[in-house]
């Protein structure tokens, strides 16, 4: 009988496709299927390496066999991205008994989304085969990342009479002269004390996997509180220098050479980029804006590229800035004896220049910076003139010999990424049998939204995507949290006799403690 409680095996099948052996473990269904370790070039910050499947035959794809325990609950999950008109047909197949356990089709394209299903393995099932197949068109790619298939370590439910959950809080009282108090506290967590009066050795052997793993696992006793979170829809824009021409009255860029270090916001606005330069820096490709110092009279000068985005068309109030993301690609080669290669990337920040990253290589390198904390993001915007300004400096200055050459390949600024079309939550969630959260509601419109029509489950299972609600609308998400737990204190197993020392039955106590804070209920 399947247990009611779920403690997911932290040592089950789970790969993030970091190494080639993780993709070579997958098998193509026939010769028309290519499975490789690759990266999604568009979203490589979030998915720097993943599995890429291309099938030239509709209905064919790849699969992997996972050893499982029969008749217990399992969780199958993965992130996916589908290009163009492709679809993914997924099948959770009982290889032992030759029959489908569950199947379906994923048809949300062009972004990373999340898949999560809880299934119970049939009796006698010791191998699950996961199929991921091209659903419609041929020759179109789909990417898979962070895929897992793990089973329940609890084969027998804990004693119901002793199941006493606790909600400990960290709190401090400030006692006032009047006798009243102010309590500062962090949100509560949960503690689950589990006791089994009698476990067979086979049942205990599963449980001890978690105790010995020293890892966090996911726990669900079937009665976890739903979480509710609110987020407004904010205008979302990605800025590059696409379509900018010299002279520009909007977004603008300059280059300069100077012995000075960055100081004022208006520094280094000397020579505007040519239209060809704007084109070169628009895409993350092989074309770049190159600036060199070659003459000995310019010794000790740095090279500067100053890149300013005009965001006035979309943002006039500072509170409209909730999240910011920079991506700069460049290089700098100091061919002098100093050999101080690389660039330093600054952003104008409130009242001075703040370094967001630097490189030390003369090779093309990416500097990323992202923050989803509104107060931090807002400091990068000069809301008085609605600009965001990035300054790139050669790390070294011109030496007495050799040239100093800086190349900028690409700069993009993304404000409120995914906040115009989605909601990011504080915790991971679990999904119901239909692959949905509890409820998504547009509070402003008083309208409950529909899965895969008005929103899609995002990758990582902690966000929703694919919305098209109006900016300013308030979205309320109610979801069942995916509670992670660790073993708290010392687990004990007390034997019911020593007659069978290799397989003793026992009394077991184990306390689980959540790492998640219970956010607003």
């Amino acid at each position: 009988m399947a247990a009611n409680f779920l403690l997911l095996d932290p040592q089950g099948y789970y790969v993030e496709f970091e190494d080639s052996y993780e993709t070579s473990a997958w098998t193509g269904e026939d010769g028309t299927v290519a499975i490789t370790l690759d990266q999604d070039a568009v979203n490589n910050e979030d998915h720097p390496s993943c599995m890429k499947i291309i099938s030239t035959t509709d209905g064919k794809g790849g699969y992997i066999d996972v050893t499982v325990t029969a008749a217990i609950e399992h969780v199958v999950e993965f992130d996916y991205k589908i290009t163009a008109t492709q679809e993914i047909d997924w099948i959770i197949y009982d290889q032992s008994n030759a029959g489908n356990i569950a199947s379906g089709t994923l048809d949300q394209t062009a972004d990373w989304y999340g898949f999560y299903r809880r299934v119970t393995t049939p009796a006698g099932c010791t191998t699950i085969r996961l199929y991921l197949r091209a659903g419609t068109a041929t020759g179109e790619t789909f990417f898979i990342d962070n895929i897992g298939c793990s089973g329940n370590l609890i084969l027998e439910d804990a004693e119901s009479a002793n199941y006493s959950r606790a909600f400990p809080r960290q709190a401090n009282l400030h006692n006032m002269q009047r006798g009243n108090a102010v309590e500062d506290s962090s949100p509560p967590r949960m503690v689950f004390p589990l006791t089994w009066e009698y476990l067979t050795n086979a049942q205990f052997s599963e449980l001890v996997k978690f105790i010995r793993s020293n890892k966090e696992a996911y726990f669900d006793d079937g009665n976890l509180p739903n979480f509710v979170e609110l987020q407004a829809v904010y205008p979302e824009n990605q800025y590059t220098f696409s379509d900018v021409t010299k002279p520009s009255a909007g977004s603008i860029a300059w280059y300069d050479t100077s012995v000075s270090l960055p100081n004022a916001e208006s520094d280094f606005e000397t020579t505007e980029f040519l239209t060809a330069d704007y084109t070169a820096i628009t895409a993350d490709d092989s074309s770049s804006v190159d600036t060199s110092i070659t003459t000995s009279s310019n010794v000790k000068k740095y090279v500067y590229h100053k890149l300013q985005f005009d965001i006035s068309g979309a943002y006039v109030a500072i509170n409209d800035i909730q999240r910011i993301k920079f991506k700069y690609v460049g290089e700098c080669d100091d061919a002098s004896g100093n050999d101080v290669d690389g660039v330093v990337v600054y952003v104008w920040h409130s009242n001075n220049w703040l370094r967001i990253g630097e490189t030390t290589s003369k090779d093309k390198t990416t500097v990323d910076y992202i923050t989803d904390e509104p107060v931090q993001a807002q400091d990068f915007v000069d809301i008085d003139d609605q600009t965001v300004t990035v300054l790139v400096r050669s790390r070294g200055h011109k030496g007495s010999d050799g040239n100093l050459t800086m190349k900028s390949y690409y700069l993009s600024l993304w404000i409120n990424q995914d906040m115009g079309t989605g909601v990011i939550l504080s915790n991971e969630f679990t999904l119901d049998a239909g692959g949905d959260v509890v409820e998504v509601k547009n509070m402003t419109d008083d309208n409950v939204l529909t899965l895969n029509t008005e929103y899609v489950i995002g990758d990582g299972r902690n966000n929703l995507k694919g919305m098209s609600e109006d900016a300013g609308d308030l979205i309320k998400v109610t979801y069942s949290p995916r509670i992670s737990v660790v073993s708290s204190g010392s687990a004990t197993d007390r034997w019911w006799g020593t007659a069978t020392p290799t397989t003793p039955p026992r009394n077991v106590s184990l306390t689980l403690q959540t790492l998640n804070a219970l956010t607003e209920l």
Binding site: H174, M176, Q177, V182, S185, V375, Q376, Q378
Partner: protein, 381 residues
């Protein structure tokens, strides 16, 4: 008063809600910390303690400092036994309280500065950042010589800030004395920038300090910002009389010539307005320490024509007996240096307007406490 982005606007605003949340009986402290060249470390913060203070006298104000303790939960802070966050990296700290149902709380900027020293405890996997505000940078930099191109307090201070790549100061009534008062002697002796800033601001009766955003605030000493905050016994954990404030009723200048009327009744009088220990004969002090203590302001005075605001305003602020109190309370993150608060303690029978001259705070995920150093206002009856 630091309000961050919470000010009431036509499109809404969280200021009233934030103030109410601050004064609730139950609160969820929230911290946000950003580090230059690294990014946000908010999820790794265990505790933050910060201290910012000016002085109750005409001596140079103190600069702020803070300590941030981070837990390296994911191995990103400590690499090869060293802290990834390095000395001189800028750090900004926001504090506030959680907002029901929202991922991020309501926050105000509380401290901005640089890392003076990161230390690692490999046993606890903690990284402790000792921070100093930008006043520390100003104390590290020295200069001397001809500053005739910067002959007003505003010009001089903004130039010094600019040399440290810091933003210009915010001046109260900046079209007044900060720009109209001409410094008499602009050939400065060697001093650190902080002392020179003290000389320039004291000379016109101003006080300077760095606020939570890292902006230098230059405010009139005789003005304070009405916060509207009233501390009653139900808001006070402890209220302690610390001492009398330093009594200032004179100021010395050494012009080597007689003071004109009305400064002196008789030509040739050696009038001295002085808090400094300086006398014109104090050459031993100059030999030992380079310059006399608190002399930076006196040095900028060249003649009787530019001594008036310098003498009048700086003395006026502290010429009556005042008292220093220490108030412990559940933290009010929006209170800043020079904010005016009212104390109404029936239990201790202490009532009156006081100005914040020091802030000492400790914040963790489960506690946010605050100690305010207060100076009483002049009470006239």
């Amino acid at each position: 008063m630091e309000t961050g982005n919470l000010l009431q606007t036509s499109g809404g605003g969280r200021w009233e809600a934030f103030k109410k949340n601050t004064n609730r009986a139950r609160r969820d402290p929230v911290i946000s910390v950003m580090v230059e060249n690294y990014g946000s470390v908010s999820a790794l913060v265990k505790t933050v303690s910060l201290k910012r203070m000016i002085q109750d006298s005409l001596h140079e104000p103190m600069h702020g400092s803070a300590t941030v303790v981070l837990e390296d939960t994911d191995g990103t802070l400590i690499k090869n036994g060293r802290s990834v966050i390095r000395r001189n990296d800028k750090v900004k700290v926001w504090t506030g309280f959680g907002r029901s149902g929202y991922r991020h709380g309501d926050l105000v900027p509380r401290f901005t500065g640089i890392v003076q020293e990161p230390t690692i405890n490999s046993a606890t996997r903690e990284v402790t950042l000792a921070l100093q505000d930008y006043g520390y940078l100003m104390k590290q930099a020295q200069t001397s010589g001809d500053y005739s191109a910067y002959n007003t307090p505003k010009l001089l201070l903004d130039e010094l800030l600019s040399r440290l790549n810091l933003g210009a100061a915010t001046w109260q009534n900046d079209s007044g004395l900060p720009t109209t008062y001409e410094i008499g002697n602009t050939t400065l002796s060697r001093r650190n920038y902080w002392k020179i800033a003290h000389g320039a601001t004291l000379g016109i009766g101003y006080i300077h300090f760095f606020d939570g955003s890292g902006d230098m605030q230059c405010l009139r000493r005789d003005a304070s910002v009405e916060s509207g905050e009233v501390f009653r016994d139900s808001d006070i954990i402890g209220l302690r009389h610390v001492r009398m404030a330093e009594f200032v009723n004179q100021k010395s200048v050494d012009l080597n010539d007689a003071a004109p009327v009305p400064w002196s009744g008789t030509a040739g009088d050696s009038l001295r307005w002085g808090q400094a220990t300086y006398t014109k004969h104090d050459k031993q002090s100059q030999a030992l320490y380079g310059v006399s203590a608190d002399y930076e302001s006196e040095e900028m005075v060249s003649g009787w024509d530019n001594i008036f605001p310098y003498v009048r305003d700086s003395i006026l602020w502290l010429k009556y007996p005042r008292h220093i109190y220490e108030l412990r309370c559940a933290a009010h993150p929006y209170l800043d240096i020079m904010d005016k608060v009212r104390i109404d303690s029936d239990i201790q029978n202490i009532h009156g307007q006081m100005t914040v001259i020091g802030i000492d705070e400790y914040i963790s995920a489960s506690s946010y406490s605050q100690t305010l150093t207060l100076i009483t206002h002049r009470e006239l009856f």
